[in-house]
Symmetry: C2
Subunit: 340 residues, 2 copies
Amino acid sequence: MSDDVRRPDAALVALDWGTTTFRAWLLDPEGRVLEQARTSDGTLRCSEGTDDARERAAAFERTFLRLVGPWLRQHPAAPVLCAGMAGSNHGWAEAGYLDVPADLGDLAGRLTTVATTGRAVHLVPGLRVTGPDPDVMRGEEVQLVGALDAPEPVTTVVLPGTHSKWVRLDGRRVTGFSTAMTGELYGLLMRDSILARLSDGGPGAASPDGRGSGAFVRGLEVEAARGDERGLPALLFTARTLVMAGDLRPDEVADYVSGLLVGAEVRHALRSAGPPGEALGGVAVCGSGSTAPRYRLALERAGVPVRTVDEDAAARGLWRVALDAGLVARTAPPILEDQP
Amino acid sequence: MSDDVRRPDAALVALDWGTTTFRAWLLDPEGRVLEQARTSDGTLRCSEGTDDARERAAAFERTFLRLVGPWLRQHPAAPVLCAGMAGSNHGWAEAGYLDVPADLGDLAGRLTTVATTGRAVHLVPGLRVTGPDPDVMRGEEVQLVGALDAPEPVTTVVLPGTHSKWVRLDGRRVTGFSTAMTGELYGLLMRDSILARLSDGGPGAASPDGRGSGAFVRGLEVEAARGDERGLPALLFTARTLVMAGDLRPDEVADYVSGLLVGAEVRHALRSAGPPGEALGGVAVCGSGSTAPRYRLALERAGVPVRTVDEDAAARGLWRVALDAGLVARTAPPILEDQP
């Protein structure tokens, strides 16, 4: 922003408070990011050691004020909107769920407000699937809102991560979703298993983007060719036997295992979605870092074209929910001064 | 054994020295167990901290003498036969492999001898599959020999464990095998994952025999019905969503997860074996404790009749290899004195 434009006052403090990560954005009156923060003060850290709801709420409030207190003091009129596990029954306050099928436009009408000494905090509800295949999400629903804030129609959004979500959409209506604990399995295997002892590195050893990695692609190919026959518990062990046979280098183990796991997740998600090429429609992968490109590659190799949405979709989604809820003004223009 | 029969001198010190467990048996001239020991002095403990082969061999020898020194002094003529990871390239000495297809009768002709200050130790080779699906075993080969020491013909032996083995046989000839890291996955999940935090217990929480457990059977059924469609990373997460939906108790999580994992392993192993009901023939599950009954139940529910072989198959197998190698006399009778 050039010097002759005075930076406008912030309009919203937006939080995505997950189990292991706290993310915060300070947004201007047009929803643009002014400042952001990311720490490891996840909700687990606030809730551990106490089963008492009031003690827990106090721990959340202390952490909240420590992390965003300066923003609150500098921007006394900015409301606070928070998504993620802070709204769970082991969080700051239980923020409930919308039952699927659910319209994402309804999130704004179901906020739960926590009164703090610092500022009222509005919690976004999660989404829940009931019935024989129950499932839940908290935090991903605002990423979804942000991911849909684009011209191209999307019928499936993939949110890779510790617990990957595959979400089916009809416009802005979530018609179903399911979760795979692929990222957590990868972390467990590459930190503590016999495969970790083979590998040259830990969970971070997989190459940064996955695209340049022959071992990642090899994992995808082995899973595609043999997954149905041999099953994942047997395929994972091939990382060890291939290294022992001199057919896989220790520094390739992490990428190969990643290929097996991402391959299994993507292949089954496509199968669950229906006949090949029919059910998926437009697919968006929402994420950043090394993970999203891996999912993109796996999908493209299965013949599914993909667009990638950056992880700041959460900030855009929180902004949209704040607009829908009337927490911020829909048409507030940037305050421009000293214009010629 | 009654008082009027003097106990014969021991004929063999038999060891199964695995990664995490050291097992030893003192066998009489008919191969019966006189004494046994089991400790957690696995080979990992002897090999950690050194890459030097001589230092490592010295660590193995010290542990060996500490654990079975009294037997060696009491039975100065008893030879020592050892199977397991002690024969790996990170073990006491590299004992090589027989390539599959391999006759189990050939193990005895391929022993590797380590000269120690205490007693010569004969190491049993492992088995190895080469080609596109390489695999290895060390220690299980003597369990196989023991498991085949029975009247009923067996064409498949299942050795459940941290790394389960499925072995195909034609008489005493091993025609192929494969490994699934099911037990290790279970341990990782129930010790460190989000599922462990849900559960009332750790890896040991699964009910002792698996048979009485509705949650174990439920895991088998869910995996059988949905495994091909949804895949293991998604099915595992259902343990969490079912608990959150009030449809699975926290104390059932371990059994349910065990059912999903054992179900996936067994179902894929049966599929790999060929058309239903054709390829498997006589199946033996070799193991003890809570694991073998789970595999037996999973196989029986899939229509495959099973017999169970106890874990002391390793001792019987080591005895048979010692006989074949001429380390012990084939016809040595028990020494009976003071008979009427």
